[in-house]
């Protein structure tokens, strides 16, 4: 019994590793297709992402937003919800943070920065709570609504940043956030910001909420067995809304970090699928905060290395996007393997 538990736990770690390995293997096929040596390409990928302190800093910078969106998806998943609306929540959070950042410029940093971060969280939380509410009260599945809200947020912030809050230049972006609301750069000239601390803190808090509080007990119970949760006096509807709001707040923080740290203004369509990548990160990280952090770093490293690989070989950097998608496929297919294992156990 004990050894079988250990096997299961070992598989929990082994399967994502196998998925990554398989994805890299198929990726090697693509590298061969363009006539390059996979080993050379992968070595460049590795060295340029993790080979020096500076590269590591860039990797972490790329990983930071993915940590947030990965946490967002994972948190909702733990409560039995599939939040593929992180992209939209990210935009709403980003804009809210930017708005506070460029509006209340007279505030001292000690108030301004936390206020901007809080605004980002609230923006994402409210946007996440909408599909949560619609699910809890009307029973509409969250997937379609979160997809729709992604696009609504995209166009809404597009309008805000090019209309009422346009920064004045010919570029579709708002004014700069004041320095008092900007996250510090940790390792110039890389653009790694102190947002990374926020991400680590968010992971810790997500962990604490889920596993160390009464609230987390209820959220996870709803996710694992809503009928038993109801029996246990847990309000399933309320917890559904709470889970989506917290998930949205985490996604909002991703946007906040990008705005206050990286761009220091709101740029229309700045995200480039950070929200969707969160699904991959959460899946690969087994929906656990620690796993999410590691998976985000892996994805950050792939993205960082890909630029150099693109530059130094004839392998287009989009290979990395393909590999990321392949990882999702393999992790998703792993559910089959685990289901078979579980069925045997029951028998």
């Amino acid at each position: 019994m004990q050894s079988r538990l250990k096997t299961i736990r070992w598989q929990g770690i082994a399967t994502p590793l196998v998925a990554v390995f398989l994805a890299l293997l198929v990726g090697a096929g693509f590298i061969l297709f363009v006539g390059e040596n996979p080993l050379t390409a992968y070595r460049i990928l590795f060295m340029e992402s993790l080979g020096s302190v500076r590269n590591i800093a860039t990797t972490l910078q790329r990983a930071t937003p993915l940590m947030f969106t990965g946490l967002a998806v994972a948190f909702a998943y733990r409560a039995g919800l599939f939040n593929i609306g992180a992209e939209g929540q990210l935009y709403m959070g980003a804009f809210a943070a930017a708005w506070v950042g460029f509006t209340f410029t007279a505030l001292p940093r000690l108030i301004h920065l936390p206020l901007a971060i809080l605004a980002g969280m609230i923006g994402g939380a409210l946007w996440g709570a909408i599909p949560g509410f619609l699910k809890a009260k009307l029973g509409i599945h969250e997937v379609i609504n979160t997809i729709m809200l992604n696009f609504i947020a995209l166009y809404l912030t597009d309008w805000l940043a090019t209309g009422p809050f346009h920064g004045g230049s010919w570029v579709p972006e708002t004014a700069r956030v004041s320095a008092s609301a900007a996250l510090a750069r940790l390792y110039p000239p890389t653009r790694l910001s102190s947002g990374i601390y926020l991400a680590l803190l968010a992971a810790l808090i997500a962990y604490l909420i889920l596993w160390k509080t009464k609230q987390g007990y209820e959220l996870r119970a709803v996710g694992l067995n809503p009928q038993a949760a109801e029996y246990g006096g847990i309000n399933v509807a309320k917890n559904t809304i709470i889970a989506m709001a917290i998930s949205g707040a985490l996604a909002g923080l991703a946007g906040t970090e990008q705005i206050l740290g990286l761009h220091q203004r709101f740029i229309v369509r700045f995200s480039a699928d950070l929200g969707f990548m969160g699904v991959a990160v959460a899946l690969l990280g087994k929906n656990h905060p620690v796993g999410v952090l590691l998976a985000a770093i892996l994805f950050g490293a792939l993205q960082t290395g890909s630029a150099a690989m693109d530059r130094l070989t004839s392998v287009p950097r989009e290979l990395i996007t393909i590999i990321q998608a392949l990882i999702i496929f393999f992790v998703a297919a792993d559910y089959l393997i685990r289901r078979i294992l579980r069925m045997k156990e029951e028998a």
């Binding site: 696009f151 166009y155 309008w159 969707f276 699904v279 393909i322 998703a332």
Partner: protein
Amino acid sequence: MGDILALLFNTAVFGAALRMATPLIFAALGGIFSERSGVVNIALEGMMLMGAFTAMFVSHQTGMPWLGVLGAILAGLLVGLLHAVFCIHYRANQVVVGTAINIFAGGLTVFLLRYYFGAAGTSPSVATIPDITIPLISQIPWIGRIIGRQNPLVYLALIAVVVAHIVIYRTSWGLRLRAVGEHPRAADTVGVNVFRMRYLAVALSGALAGLGGTYLSIAHLSRFSEGMTAGRGFIALAAVIFGKWTPYGALGACLFFGYADALQMRLQDIGIPTQFMNMLPYVLTMVALAGFIGKSVGPKASGQPYIKG
């Protein structure tokens, strides 16, 4: 006031609406077949993108755009099969697989684009499918200006809607399709092969979405550019829901969304931001789902893998 009316009923706008709607119509029909069989397909976007790229590529290589159409259908079909294998066979989460396909298609098309055509985010210009004029119809005063001269794919989309309606509601295959998506076990107990029906439906779904992508790259434009579907796969998905999973309903939704799209530039001139028109399909779909304009309820078994026995 008169200006606005003239604007709203402008034949050029209607013509443009029809063109904007065409890729949506194909993809939405694809979505209907898949969802009707019980498989959620949020991968329409990726399937369209693959179709758009393949059409451009084949047209570029052969100089024959109609071969491009064929290639796009085939590419869409393959992506559909990929979706089917993971969703039906491996019982993977259909939304996760859909997300993966969208990311995969986004990466693969740009990967190939850059490998074959160098650094730019846009392919070279390729041979396109030319517009055709329908002799008699083009003579009809007002209507002729809208549908008298269009791309063959536009006409094909309209024909496809009628065919899809007939297939779904008038053939035995369609009856089985509807049964499989609603109550797979009931279909199973009368000897209908649930798995085969779903495989066929999802493959067909991919082929149609691929065809929708074709229109973007070798009819509407003459090139492929990075991420050129720009969310149209999701608008098509919205049209499926808004049109209550029926071909004619989806056609109506696509035409309306296409109309909103065509109008946006003109409406901007009178102070309505384009982004609001862009948002419209998504907002309306949410409203429809919430039951404010006649509840949209999808096939009952949609999203659930079928387990025999």
